[in-house]
């Protein structure tokens, strides 16, 4: 069985790798949380409700209907078009390391699936893979996903979790912003819905392209979302950033997103959104 298609809950090897009695400290309230409790609660702090990051396989299992996910474009691999290296550290080696750590999908896993029975084209950023950075492979996978959605006239859903463009592929990464946005524009013209889900974190070139272009934009609580990273802003303006700056709730307050949704309610919310769109045009 492929590594992502699992029953709801935690991936098997994930469970094995957690020695019993391991505690995780909540980044917000500092509470020490028992790993098994945390997993049971979808990695949401049982004390304060803070949403910790969810591993991609768990995320997929949380969203799509059981056994409905069929991966596409699985054979795609990043190359090293610029022969990028830092002193003796090569981009090629970073790719290999990332692959052995988080799987062969590069930083994006996409496929056809159903959500509460609705056919969709879904894609998930793999933040574990080089910070979910978007290079040529990610840009191409997203573009193909959107083109498939257009062809099938089914909703497209993208779950973003990315620091932005992958600088090791230079301007080729930058141009993926234009490529993916062009594909998104075609969906809009054809009246095929696109739902963008912003997870922690969504910044840089990913935020500044398809991620902020959803017909509906949904986030989880306390996700970091913005164009510039907080450190860059702090260095530029030389002042401390306000509390909660660039978090989901801040974005909603400023009119940039539609909803902040608790993780446990995410699938139901997506399902309801798809249903609203589907009646009219998405189902041919």
């Amino acid at each position: 069985m492929a590594w992502w298609s699992r029953k709801k809950g935690l991936p098997a090897e994930g469970k094995k790798s957690v020695p019993s009695g391991l505690w995780t400290k909540c980044e917000q309230c500092g509470e020490s949380l028992f790993e098994t409790d945390l997993e049971e609660n979808l990695r949401v702090c049982t004390a304060c409700g803070y949403h910790l990051r969810l591993p991609t396989p768990t995320r997929v299992a949380l969203i799509v209907d059981e056994d409905s996910f069929v991966e596409h474009d699985a054979g795609m691999k990043s190359t090293d078009p610029l022969s990028f290296h830092i002193d003796t550290k090569k981009y090629k080696d970073s790719l290999k390391r990332a692959e052995s750590k988080s799987g062969p999908a590069d930083a994006y896993l996409s496929g056809s699936a159903t959500i509460d029975g609705h056919a969709c084209e879904v894609g998930f950023f793999v933040f574990e893979f080089m910070g979910g950075s978007m290079g040529s492979v990610v840009g191409e996978k997203i573009t193909r996903q959107l083109e498939r959605a257009l062809e099938r006239r089914v909703p497209a859903l993208i779950f973003s979790a990315s620091g932005g463009a992958r600088m090791q592929e230079g301007v080729l990464s930058l141009m993926q912003m234009a490529k993916t946005s062009a594909a998104r524009a075609r969906l809009q013209e054809a009246g095929v819905p696109y739902i963008s889900v912003l997870l922690d974190p969504t910044t840089g070139g990913v935020a500044a392209s398809f991620a902020m272009l959803g017909d509906v934009i949904i986030t989880e609580p306390n996700a970091l979302i913005g164009f510039a990273g907080p450190r860059v802003i702090e260095q530029t303006i030389r002042q401390q950033l306000p509390e909660g700056f660039q978090r989901s709730e801040f974005l909603m307050e400023h009119g940039m997103i539609d909803m902040v949704v608790q993780r446990q309610d995410l699938k139901a919310t997506l399902s309801r959104t798809i249903r609203w769109f589907a009646g009219r045009r998405a189902e041919a």
């Binding site: 990043s78 230079g170 500044a208 902020m212 979302i225």
Partner: protein
């Protein structure tokens, strides 16, 4: 009127690698000023001039990527408004995003180009501190991109070609910019530009800094001046993230493949516009003439296409960009 056209900026900023050339030129000037009817330095002057030309050719044929980055940011380099006054007629700036405010870091306006009514869009840097306060060093905020979107959509409605001039370190990273949706403004501009049924040419005249540059860079033709750069991140930013050391910016500059010739090799840039020896700032008039010729020829080509052909070809142009391997799909 164009308040920041060159003119009185006589004092030229000199980069470190330009220094030996500038020193020779100063010597030549000194000899000239010492020349009288009775004292003739003309043969010495001639020798020094030959030496200066040779030195300049030497220095400029061996420029490192980092030196080219410095050239692309040269404070004396011609900016958008310089090209506006050197290439276009009847320029009339249009202001504001109709929602929040006008952003002087990026400008748009009606103009005539070789008899054709066009829309000009361009980042605008300041020539001095006062102008840079106003222009925010050419770093636009969301309202700037939203102004461009408004004007570009208007241009498409009236079938006027759009000529963009890219010259920015990047979109401005600030609290207000984030509050007002910097990411969304850039994203929207990308999306809109892919669908405009009018010819678009984007010319990188200086710094093509990341998303803030690309936001007015989606086009049917991408032209770059010889010493212009286009990059996913500044070399300084890249160095501080990957090396944790801004001092490694020169290494980052060579890794990022950000020069016009790199972009041409990567098949992103359609044409490199040659600069005068010593760079665009040494002869803005000649540079503008070359830009004019390139714009004229490319615009002539794409004006022949219908709106639908334009957006289909534009889609394919970006669709092709990227480098990856693909094994036959393994079914699960």
């Amino acid at each position: 009127m164009i308040e920041e056209a060159r003119g009185e900026t006589k004092l030229m900023h000199v980069l470190e690698f330009e220094r030996p050339i500038a020193d020779l030129e100063r010597k030549i000037e000194e000899l000239r000023s010492m020349s009288t009817a009775s004292v003739d330095f003309s043969s010495e002057i001639k020798k020094l001039q030959q030496k200066a030309v040779k030195l300049q050719e030497e220095v400029f044929s061996g420029l490192s990527p980092h030196q080219q980055v410095q050239l692309s940011r040269h404070p004396s380099r011609p900016f958008t408004l310089d090209y506006v006054s050197l290439i276009f007629d009847d320029y009339m700036e249009l202001h504001g995003d109709r929602a929040f405010r006008d952003d002087p870091a990026i400008l748009g306006g009606m103009a005539t180009f070789e008899g054709e009514e066009v829309l000009i869009i361009g980042h605008q840097k300041g020539r001095n501190t006062k102008d840079n306060v106003k222009r925010n060093f050419g770093m636009s905020r969301p309202e700037g991109y939203r102004k461009c979107i408004r004007l570009m959509e208007m241009a498409a409605r009236f079938e006027r070609p759009i000529l963009c001039f890219v010259d920015t370190p990047g979109a401005y990273p600030g609290i207000g910019a984030e509050e007002r949706g910097q990411a969304e403004a850039i994203a929207k501009s990308l999306e809109v530009m892919t669908r405009l049924k009018t010819p678009i040419i984007s010319t990188v005249i200086g710094e093509g800094g990341s998303g803030g540059a690309l936001a007015i860079g989606v086009a049917d033709r991408i032209l770059m001046l010889e010493y212009a750069t286009y990059s996913v991140i500044t070399p300084e930013g890249c160095a501080s993230i990957l090396w944790r050391d801004q001092g490694k910016a020169a290494d980052a500059a060579s890794q990022l493949k950000l020069r016009a010739r790199d972009l041409h090799n990567l098949k992103i840039c359609d044409e490199i516009i040659r600069e005068p020896t010593g760079g665009a700032h040494r002869d803005p008039k000649a540079t503008a003439d070359s830009v004019r010729a390139a714009l004229k020829s490319h615009l002539g080509d794409i004006l022949k296409l219908t709106g639908t052909e334009l957006i289909d070809q534009r889609y394919e142009k970006y669709r092709r960009i990227g480098a990856f391997r693909e094994a036959a799909a393994t079914s699960k």
